[in-house]
Symmetry: C2
Subunit: 333 residues, 2 copies
Amino acid sequence: MRVVIAAGLTRTARIEGISAAGADPEAAVHTPGADLEIVAFGRPVRAPVVPVSPTGCPTPAVVTRAVRETAGFDLLAVDAGLSAPTAAPTVDVDAAPGADVREARPVPDAAGIVDAASEVGAGLPDDDLLVGETIPGGTTTALGVLAALGEPYGVSSSLPENPIERKRAVVAKGLAESGLERGGAAGDPEAALASMGDPVLAAVFGLVRGAAASGTGVTLAGGTQMVAAATLLRHAGVDAPLGLATTPFVAQDGSADLRDAAAELGLDLAVTDPGFDRGEHPAFGRYLRGEAKEGVGMGGALALAEGRGIPMADVRARVASLTDALTEGGDGS
Amino acid sequence: MRVVIAAGLTRTARIEGISAAGADPEAAVHTPGADLEIVAFGRPVRAPVVPVSPTGCPTPAVVTRAVRETAGFDLLAVDAGLSAPTAAPTVDVDAAPGADVREARPVPDAAGIVDAASEVGAGLPDDDLLVGETIPGGTTTALGVLAALGEPYGVSSSLPENPIERKRAVVAKGLAESGLERGGAAGDPEAALASMGDPVLAAVFGLVRGAAASGTGVTLAGGTQMVAAATLLRHAGVDAPLGLATTPFVAQDGSADLRDAAAELGLDLAVTDPGFDRGEHPAFGRYLRGEAKEGVGMGGALALAEGRGIPMADVRARVASLTDALTEGGDGS
């Protein structure tokens, strides 16, 4: 089992009120790299920020790292369009940061990213992969891809109140600018990605397509962005079994319809509860109030911990100590 | 303990008869990336070659991977000037492949590589690092750096008969072309690297300088290239304790004077014998006849295995099975 995290950027995140990843737009640029460094090393190394929401909710990378420290797993980070150097080792799939989804072709190199990621996915020696993501603004581009493919699934949000009307308006503008009807890219995942997606979705789609073609079992680790990835895969004719491992915070989000989407797409859904209601740390309360919800493979990591028989109390204790070390500027090692 | 492998290229390797890394110049371009993939995954993934010497001696990456499979360690691969995409996740330190050391400035961006690598080294959370390398032609650039610094140490070779006269002629031409006397860059490691080095030495130097400055213990894992790295560090005023972990194949090489160099540089020398004379595999015989000798952190990995109490027979068995899988085009996973 290897955990893959694709990390990148889309300028879509700069649209006001879209994303909770990073307390401000400047910080958001460093969020995906910082997330990778936290999973790789337990703390930011080259990234100048600790990713927190505007209210101080720490990144889900902390939960994934907590599982790594308790259960152990190999990490494969993918540079799916980062703009700042990261100390986390990454695989290069020729991805540049994505442009604003309201433009005509925000991911002009989507086909190249898909090909490179597919080559990587096909070549990995693992029997099973967990595939997660980190990209601020990614639920909006996920909504864009779903619209381009003509699928009705909703998307979740890293904010407690999902700015879904704002996202829909952004997507409508993007479709118009791309000269696409809703469903105009059905059956053509690369067109949907180039016109309405982001480089992380392109990398996840390519990597999973390659892995599935070589017989590797794949669990998509995440929420509605991974529903978009699964939709792309089904539109590409990939009929391999796929898992979807997520958190209760997404699964309970009424705006996302995750269970229905998973059933329609034939995804084996696993929802793993970290039991934050049985803990005392302020970070737990922020998750319980609907912040962050998912990301950086959090739901998949929790499923991995559960599968290995790690008590959730151990994971929570590690989340608490990592969060304290990060927010106090301490040494998270 | 984390194992760092810096991987890159120098056009110096194209000079005929200089290097055993890669059976031909085209293959040599893919050798460092293939080495990283073997340590990361057990087999090449994107690299189109299995690195073998002209006679079929497998890369020392196989030994390092064998230790990883038996003893386990975290890997941090550094892209210190690769030219082909690799599926092994790598840290970017802004390195391009080096030019031929006979040119005036084969590593014009040496200072930038050193700074980026130093930032990474300073930020890593580990108490201890093992630092190795893979770069075809690297002993010749090591000889070049030693000449630029005015130090008398010899260098080893990945060939049974060290083409040392050829290397000396190459270095003499490089010094003349760079307008340097022997010792003309004493006390100025970045000038030595830019004029006579390669991007891997620049990355190793920077990373270790940063790590040592932040109190991290460092063992240089390799032979005479790591003597050159240590010499650069001492010329930079780094007086932290440093280890040098290598194989008996380098330590016994009369052209290298490794023990004297280690003593003069204040390096704590560890020579770990994999006991290839007590095994049956043809690959063992090639090492015993002086091919390959060291590289890709092999000596450091063997020391790590010994320190963890892993029987060398287990390491040898894994080397044999990995080699068979690689040379038969089988699945090394």
